[in-house]
Amino acid sequence: MSIFTYMFANWSQVFTLLIEHIQLTALAVSIAILVGVPIGILISYKRWLGKPVLSFANLVQAIPSMALLGFAIPFFGIGPVPAVIIVILYSLLPIIKNTYTGITQISPQMIESATGIGMTRWQILRKIQFPLTLPILMAGVRISAVTAVGLMTIAAFIGAGGLGYLVFSGIQTVNNGQIMAGALPACILALVLDWLLSLVEELVTPISLQPEALKNRDTITRKRKKQKATLAVAALVVIGLLFNSLIGQLNKDKNVFRIGSKNFTEQMILGNLIGDLLEAKTDLKVERHLNLGGTNVCFTALDTNEIDMYVEYTGTLYAEVLANPPISDVVKVYDTSKKDIQEKYNIVLLKQMNFNNGYSMAITKSLATKYKISKLSDLTNSGRLLRAGTTLEFLNRADGMASLEHAFDFKFKSAKGLDGASRYIALESGDVDIIDAFTTDGLLKKFDLVVLKDDKNFFPPYFAVPLVRSDVLKKHPEIVKPIEELGALLDDETMKGLNYQVEEKGKSPETVAHEFLVEKGLIEK
């Protein structure tokens, strides 16, 4: 699907996300200015502070944003707060640095002259240093703001929304139109912001410091008027947006039920299924925090009361969250998990759903024929010839790659971590030979892959299971029945079919969920 078809079909979503993106960026950059400028001024007075402060700001900039995001979740949870905080941290350096540079480059004689005529320190700062620093400071703000627009796309990773949502979803589902629908507005936003800030930069540069401007005083005065008008309009829009979101925050409904989901198609469909269903069957106002990231992000979010429920998989809870050695016993996995999670986290496992989205290994048809591989035990012989491309999660978890190689006594020729749908693309382009796949993955169907049969019952069960915090369940017991009804309807084939509709047909998870519920008569059209 091309970007234009996507944009045309989903323009209101793109627009909402764009607004969200502007709000988040504006908020982050504003705070970065409010924090960064005073710090810059401070270190220009206390020079000995300059080095440690700038080194720290430099260091923060050197940390990969994803890692920083990981660190932030335990402290700030998920949603806009950690996203904004991280973008602030990244935006600080250019602002601090330029403020510092701007102030320190003013000649000491000028400051002495100001002191000599009896100005106080504050007056010198306000009337001499600040105006002379402003152009350089604004250049720093400009760099920060443009970077922030790009960086803010990571916000979607922890459910803060913004245009990154489209980019991440698009990558998940190999939907280039969707990726572009997120990337292009972000790009344009960055360019527009850069242009607006260049106007500010020009405006705050004293006429006397622009040799060109001095020659044409009248022209520049007229031009400045126009620039001021443009900026005033832009400022009003941004302030309006910020105000709007603030009101939204204040009006937070007590009866809100927050559903989270991980960052792949099935999870987003599940999130929408449950969301739509609860909206129809209960009085709850559902808030969707879909596409949040991996197990860690979602589980932490649930535990820290950022969301009220999400759907997890039994095997993941058992082996990863509770850190048990992986086993294949379906009943034991569920029972142990339910008991331990309840005790440790006060989180309730509802009845598990009817489908198992376990791991499997998938390979192209041609390779399957070439190496004569059809089941997992075949890897013992041919595994060493294959280059694996798996999710980072699979690569690292106990019941993942290491366990697989151990159980079948082989070693892949190479193994690299790839995220989401990019594995399929790598497989098709021949960059890797074998990938891990979820058994309900619609892309398996799309790319027509061979799923290796689990003939040794190697992979643990991964039945979908809704997780709800106990306190929420106590408050809203009415949610259990509809969710369990839904769970009964979803078997492996049904789920794969729903995934396929999103991943192959290019429908949105929202649409697919809605259509399914209508078709089954669970909600009305």
Binding site: Q109, M110, A114, G116, M119, T120, L132, P206, S208, L209
Partner: protein
């Protein structure tokens, strides 16, 4: 009056000013001069507390400057520095108005004062909306001066304000500053490294070396009686010739001229001239030493005999010089009246010396001929 009492300044362990004692009288323009690093700027900046004093006291009109908070003190003192003193992002008007705004003057008062100031430093009204970078160096410095005078402070500190200007502009500004000072009677402390400038504008010069005052004297005194070799070298040996107004009749006249009384016989007068190898002799009252007239060889030559006394034939020149007449005036008189010589009288009409055309040539020639004669102010 600004008074330095045993003021020292140390940077780390290095003493850059050693126990300075100095009194700067009210309403005078004092130059502090010396080569770079001598402590002259440090001294200046101590007055408005831009540089803290290590020990000793500076007082203004008897009040220790440390008793006034620095910002208040500085607001009472005008301050002009070299070029960079103007703020580039402010218009000329804003620059000049700044001290008045610091004093919280009303807009109306500022506008009135602005007009006066523009007149005072000869700047046109349409300059006000321009920026410093649009002005020439000389104009910028006029703005700096206007700003320093704006709130009418009694004391104005100037730190080499004219040193970056071209000679013609500098000259003009120096003259204007001189006029301003004479008119407004501000106490101005002026730091410079330019001796010509100091001589030209100062009432008193404070000559510094390595953190000590070498000589504190009027320009004339400094030129004529350098306190030591350093001062002499610093001001330059023949410096006085570029300030001929400081060369006085008293300095260049020939003293110890032969004299006689009015009743002395002409013969003995002639004898005296011969023995001294001079062709004139002064006639004076033996008792009061009052100058009476001159007897020249020419007068005697035409006489049939040398009977008679000096008062019979002595000439009585109406044109005489006073001891304080400057070299310029002497040359003017000699030329205008075409006199071969002029007698110098002191305030009591006592003839103390004589200046002849011949002696003038010898004096003026000295600056071009290397002096193997005596040292010092040797005129």
């Amino acid at each position: 009056m600004i008074k330095f009492a045993n003021v020292t300044k140390k940077y780390k362990n290095q003493e850059v000013l050693h126990g300075i004692d100095l009194e700067i009288p009210k309403g005078k323009l004092i130059s502090i001069i010396g080569s770079s690093g001598c402590g002259k700027t440090t001294m200046l900046k101590m007055i408005n507390r831009l540089v803290p004093i290590t020990s000793g006291t500076i007082s203004i009109n008897g009040k220790n400057i440390l008793d006034t908070p620095p910002v208040e003190l500085r607001k009472q003192i005008g301050y002009v520095i070299q070029q960079t003193g103007l703020f580039p992002h402010m218009t000329i008007e804003e620059n000049i108005a700044l001290p008045m705004l610091l004093h919280k003057w009303s807009e109306k008062d500022i506008a009135t004062r602005m007009k006066e100031l523009l007149n005072m430093v000869s700047l046109s009204h349409d300059m006000l909306q321009r920026f410093p970078t649009e002005l020439s160096g000389g104009q910028q410095q006029r703005v700096g001066v206007a700003r320093a005078f704006s709130t009418n402070p009694d004391i104005i500190l100037m730190d080499e304000p004219f040193s970056a200007l071209d000679p013609i502009t500098r000259n003009n500004l120096q003259e204007e500053l001189n006029d301003l000072q004479k008119e407004l009677l501000k106490t101005i402390v002026f730091v410079t490294h330019d001796m010509d400038e100091a001589i030209k504008i100062s009432d008193t010069i404070c000559l510094m070396r390595n953190g000590s005052i070498e000589q504190f004297a009027t320009p004339e005194e400094l030129l004529k009686n350098p306190a030591n070799d350093f001062v002499e070298t610093f001001i330059g040996k023949n410096r006085i010739w570029s300030s001929p107004e400081f060369i006085k009749a008293k300095d260049i006249m020939i003293e110890n001229i032969p004299t006689c009384g009015p009743k002395t016989s002409l013969l003995s007068c002639l004898e005296k001239m011969r023995s001294e190898v001079l062709d004139y002799i002064l006639v004076r009252n033996r008792l009061t030493s009052e100058f009476l007239g001159v007897l020249t060889a020419g007068m005697l030559r035409d006489l049939p005999n040398y009977e008679g006394i000096a008062s019979d034939i002595m000439g009585q020149p109406v044109l005489t010089l006073s001891e304080t007449d400057s070299l310029v005036e002497i040359l003017q008189k000699i030329n205008e009246h075409n006199r071969p010589y002029l007698i110098v009288l002191d305030e009591n009409k006592v003839a103390t010396g004589i200046i002849t055309r011949k002696s003038l040539i010898a004096i003026l020639g000295k600056q071009y001929l290397s002096d193997d004669s005596d040292e010092g102010m040797v005129i």
